[in-house]
Structures are given as structure tokens and as C-alpha cells.
Amino acid sequence: MRKLLFESLFRRPLTELAPSPEDAAVAELATAVGHAARRRLGRSLSIREVDAGSCNGCELEIHALNNAYYDVERFGLRFVASPRHADVLMVTGPVTKNMREALARTYDAVPNPKWVVAIGDCARDGGCFAGSYAVVGGVSEVVPVDLHIPGCPPTPTAMLQGLLALLERVDAGAVTS
């Protein structure tokens, strides 16, 4: 804690001006995702999103990945309509009892090799909905999770960073599916 307090004395405030579309950091990050994705999967990585019970906040930020500022498609990352076309399942929300079966079936429908990315704090352990009679818990209660991206909701930048982390783990052979 001392270290954290000490660091916070010298760290600039986290609140910053909005970066422009050409912002170097966003572009660099996105390029890195592109390189890693290509190394592993040739030209593209197809993602199927599943809302397993979220409040819709995470979906809004996943949508933002497709806007002109983040434009994930230029790096070969794209969202597909069917799980049968997907490499990655992106799951949001605490898994509700009513979505448990749908999530498990969707996972089964994704061809191997496949990876699961859990998006948001609820997807880890149910978040603020943990303990409800209607909630199973985190995504890992139902399907194996390869990566968890925290945040409520995570920013689009955090999601790009998370996908990069997944690709690096996949490259290092730490994940087997």
C-alpha cells in the first residue's frame, strides 16, 4: 500500500483529454493486436459475442470497438453472427440461470480451436449480482475461460489490450483448447 500511495504522489491524474482518432497509443495498441492475430491465425480472428445476462453496458463498449476510433476490422478482428464461424467467444455478464443452457450450447457450437474471453467484472464472479437466486455466477462456472478483461464496463482500449494478451498467451502455448 505504501508503494501505491508513493506512486500516486508522482502519477499524473488519470483523467485526461480525449485522444484524437490518430492518437498514437491507440494505433500502436491496435497494430500490436493485428500482428499477433496474424501470426497465430493467418489473417483474421472471428469473435462471437454472447450476452449471458449483462446489463447491456459491456455490449455498448463492444459496439464501440467497431466505430471509427477503434475500427477493429482493419486488424482482422471481426464480429460474426454465428458461433460456428467463430474462433473466440466473448461472454459478458453474470451467467443467469436462464442463459446457462444457451451459453453452454453456444460454446459447443464453436469449432476447435476456440478461446473464451470473459468481459467485465460480472463475468468474473457475478460482480454485484453474485449471490442472487437467478444467477449461476461467473462465466467460468459454465464454460472454461481463457482470459478475463476486468472493468465495469471495460473500455474499448482495455478490450483491445485484453485480446492482445490472449493472443500472446495462445502463441506461448499456455492455452490449449
Binding site: A18, N56, E61, N98, M99, T106, C128, V135, P153
Partner: protein, 348 residues
């Protein structure tokens, strides 16, 4: 599950050729038991839950919940907090309307509008991040006031945002109005009878596009809207096109409201302490982008005993079943997006 990045629901269509004869909606897939989690929770935890009832309306929910708790505790929040709350609500409305105007056009395969409004939406979210430290402004409104004041450079940033939007928006409106292939898809599609809208008491753009002139900000005049001047656009056409136009005009009104709020913002505290004692009840309302959110809360000391959150979607979902009747299957996404009802807010 649907073939997109949206919430899950079950739509059962009966079709005759290409024409939809009947639609049955089965919801409840994202039922999280929010009301049971609220029972016995601290006010702070319940406020977080309220803000996660429907993520796109997190400001409106947090505001309605705070209004209900403050009504129960019989406290008045500082004037600065009241104005900043409205500022957040209008910023949220802007972001959602931009997103939806683009998404409706996208469902008619008019991607250009989607890309353009996506940029405006992102700019709103980034402005929210700068001003309040969170892109969706979650947990910024708390019972008693605000969790934090607007950032020092926030006001200048918002004025720049308004100027930027005003520069681009007229071109986009003209684009929507003058693209025949797009108008062909939206005009006369998904018609909702004004009598049905009145019967169901549907609020938001669904109601206002079918002649029901209800807006909680105007009709109930909760502060600070009693001190601000703005119009409530109302149309009678009741189709997808009318719902798009209501949103376009509400964007204009929200820009005017944000300017008025910035002009009237005075220095002062943004939060007061809440110390409710004994058994109390309160009712709160807030106009979210899709309609009025109503919250009833029952307190025992500083604990929430029971709470009910009523989304505007409750009265809009049934009308979607009526709106799609007689339309072709391919127009369902347009109708659905022009309603943009909340699944999570409905399922709770």
C-alpha cells in the same frame, strides 16, 4: 440469442410468405433477481444495482433511484448537484440517440450514417470520461448528490463537443432526409396506432412518435427542468421514420439543455449526507432516453427493504408485437431498433 452484439430474447414469428402475421416475444433470459438483491442491501449497494439495471440508461436509473431515496429521506440535494445530474442525463441521451439513429440506418444497410453517428457517440462518451471519469457515467449519481464534481476543464470540453456536433449534425439530418432508398425502408414501416400507445401509456420516442405527448421532464417538471426551457417534439405518423425524427429533434433539445445548464451552473457543494431513520418510502422518476423510469423504494434506517424499478420498456415491448404485424420479415430489425427496448431493464 440474436445474430448481433445485443441482449438475448426469444422472438417467435408466424409468417405468411414474407409477411409477418404474428410475433410472440418471450423474455426473461437476463433475469438477474435485482429486486431480491436489493432487499436488505445498503443504500450504496442498491444504488450500484440500480445503475446496472439497464447499462445504456445507467444515469437515468441512478437518478430515479436517488430521487426515490431522497424523497423517502426528505432531503434536498444541493443545486449544483441537481444541474450536474441533468447534464449527465442529457449527455447520456445524446450518446444513445446518436447510437440508435445510426443503428436504425445500419439495419437498412445504410452504413455511412452508422459510421458518422458512431463518431458522434464516441465523442460524447469521451466527453463523459473527461468530465465525470467514466464513459457511461456509472455510479456518478448517488443518493445525496454526486460521487464527484465535474472535472475543472469539463465545461470547456462540453462546449467544444456541442460546437462539434452542431457542425456535423445538419449534414447527417439532410443525408437521412434526402436518401430515397433509406426513406423507402423507414417511412410507413412499423406503424403503431396512437390508440394503442395511449392504452398502454407508452412513453419515450415510441409514445411521442404516435402522438402521446408525455415526457417526465416536461409533464412532471422535476428539477432542474422546471427552470429550463425546451420543447418536447411530438409526431403523429407512428412509423420508424417518425421515431427517428423524434430522436433527431431530441438531440437538438438536449444540446440546448446542456448549454442552459452550463450557463446556470454555480459553485457549491455537490453532495449532502443522508441519515434516514425509521421506516420510510419514496418514489422517484427520471426520463431516460427511451422513456420514463420509475423507482419505488422502501427504507428501514439506511437499509433498503424493498425496491421496484420500472423501465419504460414494460409498455413498449407489447407495442412492438403490434408494430411488426403486416410488415415483411426483413423490416423487423428496423422496427426493433427504432423501439430499442431494454431486455435487462425489463427482465430485472
Amino acid at each position: 440469442m440474436h445474430a448481433g452484439i445485443i441482449e438475448p430474447g426469444h422472438f417467435r414469428f408466424t409468417v405468411n410468405g414474407e409477411t409477418v402475421v404474428r410475433l410472440e416475444q418471450r423474455l426473461g433470459y437476463v433475469h438477474k433477481g435485482i429486486e431480491s438483491l436489493m432487499a436488505g442491501a445498503s443504500i450504496e449497494k442498491a444504488s450500484r444495482l440500480a445503475g446496472r439495471t439497464s447499462g445504456d440508461s445507467t444515469v437515468a436509473y441512478a437518478l430515479a433511484f436517488a430521487n426515490a431515496v431522497e424523497a423517502a429521506a426528505e432531503v434536498q440535494v444541493p443545486a449544483r448537484a441537481v444541474f450536474l445530474r441533468a447534464l449527465m442525463a442529457e449527455l447520456e441521451r445524446l450518446a444513445n440517440h446518436f447510437g440508435d439513429i445510426g443503428a436504425i440506418c445500419n439495419d437498412a444497410s445504410f452504413v455511412l450514417m452508422h459510421a458518422q453517428t458512431g463518431i458522434l457517440r464516441e465523442r460524447c462518451l469521451r466527453a463523459a470520461e473527461v468530465c465525470f471519469g467514466h464513459r457511461l457515467m456509472m455510479d456518478r449519481i448517488v443518493p445525496g448528490g454526486l460521487a464527484r464534481d465535474i472535472a475543472p476543464d469539463g465545461q470547456a470540453h462540453l462546449r467544444a463537443l456541442i460546437a462539434a456536433i452542431r457542425k456535423v449534425l445538419p449534414q447527417l439530418v439532410e443525408l437521412y432526409d434526402n436518401t430515397a432508398s433509406l426513406q423507402d425502408r423507414t417511412v410507413s414501416t412499423g406503424f403503431v396506432q396512437p390508440s394503442l400507445v395511449r392504452q398502454y401509456g407508452a412513453g419515450g420516442y415510441v409514445g411521442r412518435a404516435s402522438g402521446r405527448a408525455f415526457d417526465a421532464r416536461h409533464n412532471l417538471k422535476y428539477p432542474p427542468y422546471d427552470q429550463l426551457s425546451f420543447d418536447i417534439p411530438v409526431l403523429d405518423a407512428g412509423d420508424v421514420d417518425a421515431r427517428v425524427w423524434i430522436r433527431i429533434r431530441e438531440v437538438d433539445q438536449s444540446l440546448l439543455l446542456i448549454e442552459q445548464i452550463l450557463d446556470r451552473l454555480r459553485r457549491g457543494p455537490v453532495c449532502i449526507g443522508l441519515h434516514p431513520a425509521g421506516s420510510r418510502e419514496g418514489l422517484g422518476v427520471a426520463e431516460a432516453f427511451r422513456g420514463d423510469v420509475l423507482v419505488w423504494v422502501s427504507l428501514e434506517g439506511d437499509r433498503v427493504m424493498r425496491c421496484h424499478l420500472r423501465d419504460a420498456s414494460w409498455f413498449q415491448w407489447p407495442l412492438l408485437e403490434a408494430a411488426i404485424e403486416g410488415n415483411i420479415v426483413a423490416d423487423f430489425p428496423l422496427c426493433n431498433k427504432s423501439f430499442n427496448c431494454s431486455y435487462s431493464g425489463h427482465d430485472l
